[in-house]
Structures are given as structure tokens and as C-alpha cells.
Symmetry: C2
Subunit: 344 residues, 2 copies
């Protein structure tokens, strides 16, 4: 869309909700410009707020996924994990959540019961209380079955008040991802029956707070964390280098991707780097601590696939470069839109 197109003719497109370039533009040009405050300008997953002498993380997300149930989870589990993870990667211990439901008239009570019970059990696992909520019902045809919003509050672990800004990141720092990427989006593709798959792929949807707390309590030099959801790993890495004086170099061979996910990407023309995840996060750590971080994650994770995928470089600031498996180099740009809408 030409930038001089007057606002009278502009409309919201699916890509504005993709988590990619158009979402970032909308946040910049509409929300940050109007709401205009320092927390929002930090552009992190959770706002970090000082109240009295404590630092809190505060975050929200709406979930509009289709279908509501997928291998490995459902919209309820996702809504809890998403908020727990946004708080956790901001260096906070998640404490309390809200849950707000927009329900289409005629929605089966039995499914709502399953979804609410799934939220309750994930909240219990994560150790957060769902303490407040709201229920709205709209006429049949005015929403697609069920949308859930969650917001969450966490208490930032002492010493990690600025981790969401990533100000200490410097060339040489290592980039770690905690396991296989692309599983969540693949599970949605499988649940939508978009491809005839031999075996179903299970979403990685899970609460990351326990593993993140294990890392933080070891006093390691963690410079930054972010979960790679909408827009995938490629988008997060681009957010890290955006307007910074360093770049990122990652190695394709070191990025854990299941064969099945590779096959799906091959057929649909997708890139695993942009596939949505719901239990994956990126850590940027001082090189001296990278081995220990990987060890801690792998002790907590049955897959044991935490991997050092690359590092911060002083060359090509603001850019993410991929050393491909066959020896080439490729720029990983911020995606404009989504490969598949309504996956999280």
C-alpha cells in the first residue's frame, strides 16, 4: 500500500494482525502515537511497571484461533500459556491472570466446559490464579465461535528489571532457542486438514515459567529473552536487531526443525523460521554461560533439543543473516504478513 494513500481509503487487512511488518507499522503509527508512553515505546511483550519499590510485568493477548482444538492443546490452554510466557520472558514470575470470553450465541456448553477446564489445569500447572474475568455473548454470526482474552501480572525477579530492553546485548553474545521450531503452526495445519499427514504433529504449546525460573535463579548473564509466537523465530530475531548497532548471524544447520515440519514447509512453500510456536523462546546470553543455559533447559525438557543457533555480530547492524545448510548466506527479513492467519 503506498504510504501517501490517505487514511480515508485505508482498511485493516489480515496482515495487520500477522505479527510481522504490517503489525509493527500499525503499532507504531496508531497505538504508540496515540497512547504515547515509555512502557509502550519499549515495544516488549509485557510492560514493566514500577509501583512503589516493586517491578511488575503486565501483558495481554487475545486468542482467535481456528480451530479451537488442535493436537496438543486448545484455545484455553493457549490463552494461559501465552500470557504466562509473555510474563516469564520479561523476567517475571507470573502471579495472576484475567480471562475474558466473547462467545457466539449457540456455542455448545460442553465445549466451553472443556476449554475452561483446560485453562484451569494449565493455570494450576503454571502456578497462576485466574482471579477476574468477563463474559460477553454476541448474536449468532457476529463472532467465530469463541474468542478469549487473557491479561496477566507478574513480579519481576530482582536484577532482571531491564532484561526486556536488551540493552546489554553486545557482539559475541550467543543466541539460544529452547527446542524444535514450527510445531504449533504445523499442528494447526494438521488440525485444519490442509494436508494429508501420515501422523499428527503435536503443538509445542506449554507454559515456560518453570524452566525460565530455573535459568534466572542461577545468576547467569542473560541479556534478553522473547517467546517466538506469531511470526516465528525470524520475526523475534528481527525485533532484536531493529534500530540497534549490531546484527545477528544464525546457522541453519543448528536450528532444530522436525523432519515432518520441514516436509510441510516444503509442500506449502512456508519457511520454518516464520512458523508460529507456542512454547519456544529465544535467549541471548553471554558466551561464558551459554553451555550452562542449554544444560538447564535440557534437564527440564524431554526433547533435550535446546540449541545454540548463532550469535550477535558487529557486522551488518540491524540485519539477520542465515548461513544456509548448503553453504550460502541469506537475509532473514521481518515478514510482511502471516503464512497462515488465526494460528494464535
Amino acid at each position: 500500500m503506498p504510504s501517501d494513500m490517505s487514511i480515508e481509503h485505508q482498511r485493516i487487512l489480515l496482515n495487520h494482525g500477522s505479527g510481522g511488518k504490517m503489525t509493527h507499522e500499525l503499532i507504531e503509527n496508531l497505538f504508540i502515537r496515540n497512547f504515547n508512553n515509555e512502557s509502550l515505546k519499549a515495544r516488549s511483550d509485557a510492560a514493566i511497571l514500577q509501583i512503589a519499590d516493586k517491578f511488575f510485568a503486565f501483558t495481554t493477548d487475545s486468542y482467535v484461533i481456528d480451530p479451537l482444538f488442535f493436537p496438543g492443546g486448545d484455545i484455553g490452554k493457549l490463552a494461559v500459556c501465552g500470557t504466562v510466557n509473555d510474563l516469564s520472558v520479561s523476567g517475571a514470575v507470573p502471579l495472576y491472570m484475567s480471562a475474558s470470553f466473547i462467545i457466539e450465541e449457540g456455542f455448545p456448553m460442553e465445549l466451553l466446559e472443556r476449554i475452561v477446564s483446560s485453562m484451569a489445569s494449565e493455570a494450576k500447572y503454571a502456578g497462576v490464579d485466574i482471579v477476574t474475568g468477563d463474559t460477553k455473548v454476541v448474536d449468532k454470526g457476529k463472532c467465530d465461535k469463541l474468542f478469549i482474552n487473557t491479561a496477566g501480572i507478574g513480579l519481576v525477579v530482582k536484577g532482571y528489571e531491564n532484561i526486556h530492553k536488551g540493552l546489554d546485548i553486545q557482539p559475541g553474545d550467543k543466541i539460544i532457542v529452547n527446542g524444535y521450531i514450527g510445531d504449533h503452526e504445523s499442528s494447526i495445519i494438521s488440525a485444519r486438514n490442509l494436508l494429508p499427514l501420515k501422523s499428527e504433529i503435536i503443538s509445542d504449546c506449554c507454559s515456560l515459567n518453570h524452566v525460565i525460573q530455573s535459568i534466572l535463579k542461577n545468576n547467569l548473564s542473560i541479556k534478553f529473552m522473547r517467546d517466538a509466537t506469531r511470526g516465528g523465530l525470524g520475526t523475534v530475531l528481527n525485533e532484536v536487531v531493529d534500530h540497534r548497532l549490531f546484527g545477528i548471524e544464525i546457522n541453519e544447520n543448528n536450528i532444530p526443525v522436525r523432519e515432518q515440519v520441514k516436509a510441510i514447509c516444503e509442500i506449502l512453500g512456508f519457511d520454518p523460521l516464520y512458523m508460529a510456536n507456542e512454547g519456544k523462546f529465544v535467549l541471548i546470553v553471554d558466551p561464558k554461560d551459554s553451555d550452562q543455559v542449554i544444560r538447564i533447559i535440557n534437564e527440564a525438557n524431554i526433547d533435550r533439543m535446546a540449541s545454540l543457533i548463532g550469535e550477535i555480530t558487529s557486522e551488518s547492524p540491524g540485519m539477520v543473516l542465515l548461513n544456509t545448510g548448503i553453504g550460502g548466506k541469506r537475509i532473514i527479513d521481518m515478514p510482511v504478513g502471516e503464512q497462515l492467519p488465526r494460528i494464535c
Copy 2:
């Protein structure tokens, strides 16, 4: 619906989102049963949470109103006021808010800009920062134009940590409402062109935090506050007496209702007591302080219509009785459903 109807055949109805009896049943039987914690069991508009030595209020609401613009406001202003007011009546100073948007593909950018700018200006007036958010876009036809969710955090004013429970309410306490009731629902009726009206009715949609702070700082004996939104004044009064050993008696002649609103109710068969408001709240106060509370509200309010509408009685516990204008008595029950869906 018969209570023995098995869950397999039950479906969500519009009335489950009305704020009335069916909403309360859903909250009880589904949400409180599954999420099961003390904050939720308090059944207040905001959860009151102790973190370290501070008490916080935390609340959320989704807004699905139709139409998006109405005389006196729009969905954006409403989304800010609603959360500010839920925090304020819980005895808290609102500090921070989240804003989450679910937008239908094709929604005009110009309208979104107007709505976001309206949120920004109401937030500025109320003195809260919108610090975090989320944007989802769904395919055309999968939601009705725009839904907004807001969540908010406030710091409870010292001494008011338990006001949301209303534990100190006792017979003889006075019931005050801060002005004309029914204006918001009437403005929506007018915006929907449901009736040919000579002059438009302006919604009472406004942030109540400043007037509530003025009351709280005077050290008066305030026993309880709640804003009368969905379900109106009648619903709030029923919530006050629910499972309690006292009742409420109110006087129709003392309840401020505009002539125009009375006329609309007459024609549509609505009851002003169940009409939704977005800037009205009920206070229960010790009799010695009722005059001063009314004076403080009227100093802040151009209408100067704050009124003492009734009192807590030891007779008919659990019930709300109305002394009608013509000398009769009528039970004001919790409404089963809504007079009009999607008004807030």
C-alpha cells in the same frame, strides 16, 4: 432451561452475557468452579490482590457494542471508562491499562484511528497509561467490526482493602446513586434508530475515578461501591443483598430518571432500573455521612443529581423492595436476561 438438562444439549444463549441471573449462574457453575480461588469467589468487579505489602485491584472487560459510536461516546471511550470505573469502585486509584483489539478484515482505518484517539484522550483525562496491548485481525464475517478488551491495574487506597466485600454493611445504611439512570442504554437505543426520538439522549459514559477519589480522601464511612452497568441499578442492588442477612428498600420517587428515558421505557416496555449505565455507581454509606457524600458528588457533577434512594433494612433479607411512586410495593428481582443485547 430445565436444570436436569444434560450438558451435551446445553448451548450458550444471549442471556448468558446479560449480566443478569444467567450470567451469574454461568460464573458460578463454570468459572468459579473451575478456576476456584478466593479472589474470584469474592464476586467483585475487580480482584483485590496483595503483593508484598500493597493491595492491588485487577479487572478486565470485553466490549462488543453495536453500534461502535453513540451519542456521548464510542467503544474506545467506553473501554477505558469501564475499566477505570471497575477499579475505582473497588477503592483503587487506576494506574495502568492494557488494550487488546480484535478487528474484522476490511475495517476502515479512519474509524480505528478515531476510536484509538478517543481511548487516548479518555485515558489522559482519567490519568491512566495504556501500557501494553495486542492486535488480532480475523477474516471478514468472523467478527462484527471491532471488539476491544481492556484490563487494568490500580492501587487500593489505604483503609479500603475490603470495601469490595461490603462486609460492614448494616441495616440503616443509606443507598446513594450519583445521578440519572438509564442514559447509556437510551443513547444506544437512539443510535440504533429503534425509536423516532425528538432529541438524542447522551450516554453518561465517563470515568468516575476523580469523583470517587474525592469521596475516599474525606475519610467518610463508605461501606460499598459498585458501578451499575449491564443489568442496571436493579442488578447491583440484588448483588448487594445476595446471600446476606439484610434487604434493601428504595423509593421510586427518589431515583433520578430523565423524562425522555421514562418515555423510552414506556414505549419499549423496559424498566429504568434495569437500564445499562456507564457513569453511574451505587454507594452504601453510614447514615451520618450520606449528606456529605451527596454534596461531594454534586460539586463534581454538572447535573447535581446525586440522590439518596433508599436504605439497608433488616426486614426481607436477600430482597430488594421498591416503594412505587403511587404508593405500592414491588419486588425488584435480579433480571434473567437483558432488555437489549450488546449495549456495553
